[in-house]
Symmetry: D3
Subunit: 229 residues, 6 copies
């Protein structure tokens, strides 16, 4: 059965925005190296960094009808997450849909398929992470669902999950863990700031992280290279 779920719960705006500030790599590490989607999802232009609440869309292959349906379910601060039910590299999304979502305050799109009009989407600064760029047209014949759990880029995304996306890719934070993850990000970042200063001053990670003893225990051997024959 094809269903559109309305009024799915979202995390608090402050939590979502807090996560955006840390970016994908920090959030992924903070929540125990989980939640990262496949590296095949790449941004259409460099430099964007966003976070938002997932509105999920399950679409039939080469059919973008449900994206039009999903627009109505979007609120300011959301990010659309689109996954076809069969692998595809067609172009399900272009500038008109981007303008429509932008008018509703949506922050970006994650799609495990293709996108088009990338020049125009770049011009209006609507960021997209997609598997490819393709102008291949789609139809509007087969129903799908909105706000059901979907697998996108090899990862599970539930409606209302927090999506973080930047030049490093896309990471998903389960809604109920958003606040805890934000706290861990803050702690992690503080620790890294100190390490960064020491590294830039020329100290070695081997010493800062006290790795030498454990390497020796494991049996690492140091030798001089053979003399230049």
């Amino acid at each position: 059965m094809n269903v559109v779920y309305r009024n799915t719960p979202r995390a608090a705006a402050a939590t979502v925005d807090g996560l955006a500030a840390f970016g994908v790599a920090t959030v992924h590490e903070a929540q125990g190296r989980t939640g990262l989607l496949a590296p095949s999802l790449r941004p259409i232009y460099a430099g964007a960094r966003i976070a938002g609440s997932a509105v999920t869309v399950s679409v039939a292959p080469c059919d973008n009808w449900m994206i039009h349906v999903a627009v109505e379910q979007c609120s300011p601060g959301d990010i659309l997450v689109v996954a076809p039910t069969s692998v595809s590299d067609a172009g399900y999304f272009g500038e008109l849909l981007g303008s429509s979502l932008q008018a509703r305050g949506v922050r970006g799109l994650i799609i495990d398929a293709g996108v088009r009009d990338v020049r125009d989407l770049t011009a209006i600064a609507f960021p997209v992470w997609s598997k490819c760029v393709s102008a291949q047209g789609t139809v509007k014949e087969t129903l799908g669902s909105v706000n059901i759990p979907v697998v996108c880029g090899g990862g599970l995304v539930n409606p209302g999950d927090i999506v973080i996306a930047d030049d490093d890719g896309v990471c998903i934070v389960p809604r109920r863990e958003a606040e805890a993850t934000l706290a861990k990000c803050t702690a992690r970042e503080e620790k890294e700031a100190t390490v960064r200063i020491r590294l830039k001053a020329g100290e070695l990670g081997l010493d800062i992280y006290s790795m030498r003893e454990r390497l020796a225990e494991r049996g690492l051997v140091y030798r001089d290279a053979p003399p230049d024959a």
Copy 2:
């Protein structure tokens, strides 16, 4: 037999330039969602949008001899379309060939293989859509043909066909359909202009395109999300 066909017919310059203005996504839709080459063909730099008449080149794998032969057959406003007879990611084309083509008024290159000297080609603004960037050298040992039909990026390209290329990829318009396609592009763009204004004003595609009734007929169900447990 290996043949170079000379003086292949081209479409009118005004028609070709008209198509360039619309870009790949619009042209592809206007001609009934046909003609798009594979999304694996990507531009070496962002922002170029060109159209031109195809001069086609069938080359032996890792052999760029026939590209040198093809240069002589090019006229101002042409685009070179190169397809190896066996899959390859070597670098068949670099800055010297780019300079040579540019001196003859050629607008760009489409190649189902690799290209090199991309920094220099970017500097002289000679746009290329290729399967990859590779410096792997090629030889000049085996003949091929110029201006025969080729399959490039999974699509058929006849000499004299119109090639449109931009950040969305590459689209082919059969020469005899160029004028009709141009007319359809104009019509399509006018329609989209109105829709764009309404979408930016916050109207929904669901309403603009009157989709709600057909969705209901197909059985789409709306439900409130379960309360937050």
Copy 3:
């Protein structure tokens, strides 16, 4: 056995820097079309062109421990070359390691796997050529080796080999052949400068390279295209 080789021989700095000036395509051609790594290794940002002495690192899959060990073995002018022992697209390297290497005068990283923090690495201008961008975290559990021969991007890299990298990819020059290759690059570039001027003036490569006779011998046929039906 896991070993770290220290004090591997390097080529003279002037030779290394000379090769950087020519770039990947010229160096690859000058040494007989050898040494190019796979085109899957792409730069995280455009425009960088570097050369340096290879410090090689063989790492366990999804384990970046040995990169930390390798930092200590790096000298100014080096380039780190990292290859996992089993295929992987995790993110072994980020901004902290980049800062650490930069503090030691290292010029860049080649990695047959993923990299993360690309926005920050771009900001500090630390260039990386990698198979992909991925924030997927790695562990520090299994030993590897430093400065042993590794296969990276399908090519063999010995410690101390010269690595040249730019927008066209990555090329390896065996250390003992560095000076001879540099001489060949100079010769090649001089020859190309003359050809470039003639091509830009509209002369054809067919004539400059005297190809017409050999093409005819091989049986190339010229025909007029059939009249427009």
Copy 4:
């Protein structure tokens, strides 16, 4: 946190075995074209057709420690489903583990990575569906989890879900829907039996399924091919 869940609920044995008899294509269609894992998961030998209850294993990349842990959680009639947390094609599983599982009545393995000892596994008739065959060894250093939801082959698998696998691939049936799906399979198969007889007798699907009218409505045109020029 890394957890092993014990005593997960399973579907009734009769239901599971009933699904096996129908095979992947029928089950996938019967449950509304859902549940199919990626076609990259292929059997190591032809002809096996199994169904069983999923015991899921989330493993670190190139680390098969948790498979050893999972064996203890398996009961007769189960199928092991293994997914690494980062993409990998190493060989996590071989004949010793196959013998161990077989001794516990496990029916087969689904793994989104590599398998080895395929000759021996074939000899003992332990069927495996894997992404590849690879002898690349793995370590036992990093924890994972058993019987948590995993994404395998692009699809979500919950512990206790029914796994159906044959030469067509792998399909997942949610445990609570197993009986309903079995009933739909029976109904579907009965209908197909009649159609099969008519098709073998030379009747056309166009007539059996009454497609001609709808094709005409959509505008399908029939023409004779142009005379042989």
Copy 5:
């Protein structure tokens, strides 16, 4: 416009059957190393070798409606060639369609997408060359065309072309060149029979083909391996 062309011309049955006897590698060589489709098209079972006249089908992605339409256009000795208009790995074809085609004397299927029911298709000995095996279901919503030129596996196939397929892949012979190609196959095979006898007797291809002189001219050097250090 979507069209079904009826009564397309076919080559003589004796010519088609003659080509089947030679197989893909010989036919491909005999017609000047052209016509081979991509190696991604693999047989679902080993040992089949067929030739037949192409009935081509252009289908919408994940939509197999036009295959049902195409069945009616098939005659004994034909081979169905199916190409989606956008890349897809769904399963467009199964045992029911196979039985239907077999009832009409069709010899096999070439499809640039997925196939399912491979166990049943093998049992009834209906050979298929496909990009993958997948049970992923398709819809019947969008028209396509029958017996128009299609690009399948990277090669152009016209209706009525002769398709040869065996364990080496799939090769296309243009209809008008079928007889000439058959003659060249016979000549080639005769020549190879003599060579085969000499090679099996231990003679070297270097001598049979008189390669030594040309190798020396090109500069090939023979050296003894360095003594075992």
Copy 6:
């Protein structure tokens, strides 16, 4: 410079044959999980298991000339290892070359490209491990080298190295380490034989390998699955 090295040293026949008996997975483990070539190299038929001394061939892309040259350098017990200098999936090798090698006592072929005539090669029982099956023809225009180090399937192969190949893939043992590796294989196999008996009797690897304590130290938690809601 293109060179053919003659009379490269080989390991003792007894050592080579001893390694064949153990197969790829055991040899790879015995030498510390090194030496395995990429899993993309697959056998053309199941069941073969061979070992032999490598005769290496570096060929130009889509050019099989040097394979003819290499035949003369082969002795009974050798295995030919072929690597193109640029990625390619053409068919460099067929039944005639197979018959020629078989007449010289060569045991099989490893090729990082395509092979053809697989039905005939299977019939004469000449085993091949290749990247793909393809009938795409090659030329004889460009020199390469015989018995130089090559990178094949992502691994380094020196002439005279021992090649082991079976259904699990291909593994390389450096010639000087062959005897030591054989001894380690024997030791490993003896240990596994005991484990196999205990596993088949139903004992758990967790107990046989005493893993429980270390798992607990790392923090693995066991819980009962939540009751069936």
